[in-house]
Symmetry: C2
Subunit: 460 residues, 2 copies
């Protein structure tokens, strides 16, 4: 493809995206395709000879787009909603064109330094203390896995050579994301030693139960090494009592990791800054700009107070053999498993500059406001109930009936094409999670959803 | 950013990229920036209020571009060269605009199914047997880490709960990439039990030494569980004797992973298909389309004959508790640590269709031809020597003199702005790695490089 062909097709693709964004509400949110339908429409073998880009783009529109679930749709309220904003998309486009691999400083100084600068900006916006080291991973699962591996290195450096982690115990609440347990399994920690601590009536980890579990494990000769607290749990967006938990981890010398993948972004809103209280005492934390900060996936930010331990956890060269380096020429590959690294900071920089802190805070604030308003509507209808406090922009609602009725309600809503919700489980009962987080979501989308829900309930 | 603003700035960015691609040879390959220079040019805090996109794009050109090392430059021959081709960039642009997270089938049927289809196409192009399960990870480091974790699960499922891996031993050659040892460390395998097997005079793992090491470890009561063979080593692009190694791993019941991150792409060239010989007997393998198949980073393809073990390695739900699923609605999150997944298959599909197998094979063949031609020039100059067989498109050359002289030579070449090479070590001596792999690299770039090298040698 010559530069001129790139120009021509690039303009065509940009025009398609602009039209797509303008007409996004015309697309069904949830794909209406059957398993295998997309695959069956494609040839069983790749082409021997190149095909014209016109044809490829036509096939993209004809075969691929109808099989998409539209995460960038204002009616997308499943899982946690995300936004691929315009500035973020342009950043990704330039990242692909530059195509650098920022593994070492020399291989792309701008990629390395812009990552440090944007993450320091974000740190300030979140009200976190100076001196945190930041790095971008693909996902929060990966970030949490790295935290667990660093914690392992801090607690039992002598086992690095031998690989016996039998005594190590890890703690999270029973509401923590599955990535915590998965990260522990990946790190080779015994799955039996992952302790799921009970939660209180607001779904927060019970600090007293944590303390008790740690004491019991110590008494049994085990070695508590890592606690993962959550700010904005996946189930109901609860906030664990991080200050109390930090007191416990400090007393026992345990690594504290805070999973603020969803909730952390809210801290850039002045009146929500409190959600990160206590996290300044954590050893590491993760927040996902690709969730609530309008940055296209993937962009998961990991902060740590102990970069030297993260580095040691993955270093194959003993520290005393390291050659002197310019301290400003950081080699990012030293802080994780993947050697290759995309230039992800560029899209984050575009988003942060284009919206500014106030612009992003306004969108998050609006999401929280319409979530509370929606919860109010639900509470006023005696057929429904809200199953957990609305601290952010997630509403867990439920039809007061059987689980099967809630399943039916969910299916009807999702099949409407106007909204897409995911199911959840709260206190043993099936709920519908309304996760507001796409930058295009407005009150009218919630009005439509509520109308759909009530109509469907009327048919139950 | 409204759709119309996106259209306007999207066109502007596309035009900049088209011009950048047309004038790429005018840019110095290696960034000429000092550590901290980019960071110092940026404000210490992010903006409170949004800034105009005109200004952001101007700052991108003014502050970021000069600090880039240009991986997409035809003179880039460091590490392993890559290409962000036009079709690949357009694919990434659409991926960012759709912004889906393909964690489960429902969350994006097209992302899930196109990944399976494109990876099956690539499998056929590489001459690999039917029935391989494919998935895309970010990097080969991540793919190899997953292979080691799956091997661990196969060898010692009973330790999953307890986490004692003391007996497990892993094998790779002393020329294997550091990601193998890093993956073992991440998986919690004892670093002392990573065996670096000696190589022969062509830098290939010695199968007899591997067999001997395995027998010795077994005799000592240890449990050999994984062998990583390499097709195209980082140092000199050697090919381990995979058929012989497969015979050994089959006999001992050990997981065989083939790291063909670089070399595997060459198998789409008819006369190079032999490089994957034996890999059809491997349990898993990795090949990076983001290296030699014109796909922007990141796109690392992992194939396995044992998807059920990979799945089991990361599953938190016992198999007997799994609910019945439509076998065609695969949930890709089950096959790895990261829950979130970008729609990476789209760019690969664009590249495979736009170039066709023959088109990609022509480019790889040309790279190999000019590499051999270049090696011929080096061999004819008595001041220089070629330090390893040129099996792919990597030439390891050396000035017949002190290491310091080679360092000086390398620096002069890199500072010219016309080429960027990375150093290596072969048989204890410093070498200059000439890694040809950017799709724009032509014979003229090698002519220029050789002239630079000879002139610099004349000044030594």
């Amino acid at each position: 493809m010559t530069p001129e062909e790139f120009r021509r097709f690039g303009h065509e693709v940009v025009d398609w995206i602009a039209d797509f964004r303008a007409s996004i509400r015309d697309y069904p949110v949830l794909a209406r395709t059957r398993p295998g339908e997309v695959a069956d429409a494609l040839p069983p073998s790749g082409p021997e000879h190149g095909e014209p880009m016109d044809l490829i783009l036509a096939d993209f529109r004809r075969l691929i787009v109808p099989g998409m679930t539209h995460w960038n749709h204002p009616g997308f309220m499943a899982y946690f909603a995300t936004s691929g904003s315009g500035p973020g998309i342009l950043g990704e486009l330039l990242t692909a064109a530059l195509n650098v691999n920022g593994m070492v400083w020399k291989s792309s100084p701008s990629a390395t330094e812009l990552e440090q600068v944007t993450l320091d900006w974000l740190r300030q916006w979140m009200g976190l203390p100076a001196g945190l080291f930041g790095t971008i991973y693909d996902t929060a699962s990966t970030a949490t896995m790295h935290a667990i591996m660093a914690a392992r290195e801090m607690a039992a450096p002598e086992e690095r050579g031998r690989g016996n982690w039998e005594k190590l115990t890890l703690y999270c609440s029973e509401q923590a994301h599955s990535s915590v347990e998965k990260g522990a399994v990946a790190a080779g920690i015994g799955q039996e030693r992952v302790r799921k601590i009970a939660v209180d009536e607001k779904f927060r980890m019970r600090a007293d139960a944590l303390e008790e579990a740690i004491r019991a494990d110590k008494a049994a000769g085990l070695k508590p090494f890592c606690v993962v607290a959550t700010v904005g749990t996946t189930g109901v967006a609860a906030i664990d009592p991080v200050p109390e938990i930090a007191g416990i981890t400090e007393r026992h010398g345990i690594w504290l990791h805070v999973d603020a993948a969803y909730g952390g972004s809210a801290a850039i809103v002045e009146e929500m800054r409190h959600v990160m209280a206590g996290s300044e005492r954590a050893d590491s934390m993760v927040v996902n700009p690709h969730k609530w900060l309008l940055t296209p996936v993937d962009c998961s930010v990991f902060y740590t107070r102990r970069p030297e331990i993260v580095r040691r956890a993955f270093s194959l060269v003993p520290e005393y053999l390291r050659t002197e380096e310019d301290p400003r020429a950081v080699n990012m590959m030293d802080y994780g498993v993947p050697l290759g690294r995309r230039f992800r900071a560029l899209k984050l920089w575009f988003v942060m500059r284009s919206y500014g802190r106030v612009g992003l805070a306004c969108i998050i604030r609006r999401h929280m406001e319409i979530a509370r308003e929606f919860a109010g509507w639900v509470e006023q209808d005696e057929r429904f109930e809200v199953m957990a406090p609305v601290l952010f922009s997630l509403v867990c609602m439920r039809y007061r009936g059987a689980d099967e009725q809630n399943t039916k309600l969910l299916e009807e809503i999702n099949q409407s094409g106007k909204a897409f919700l995911s199911p959840g489980q709260v206190q043993g009962k099936k709920v519908l999670r309304v996760a507001i987080g796409n930058y295009g979501t407005e009150k009218e989308d919630l009005v439509r959803l509520w109308q759909l829900a009530r109509e469907a309930a009327g048919r139950l």
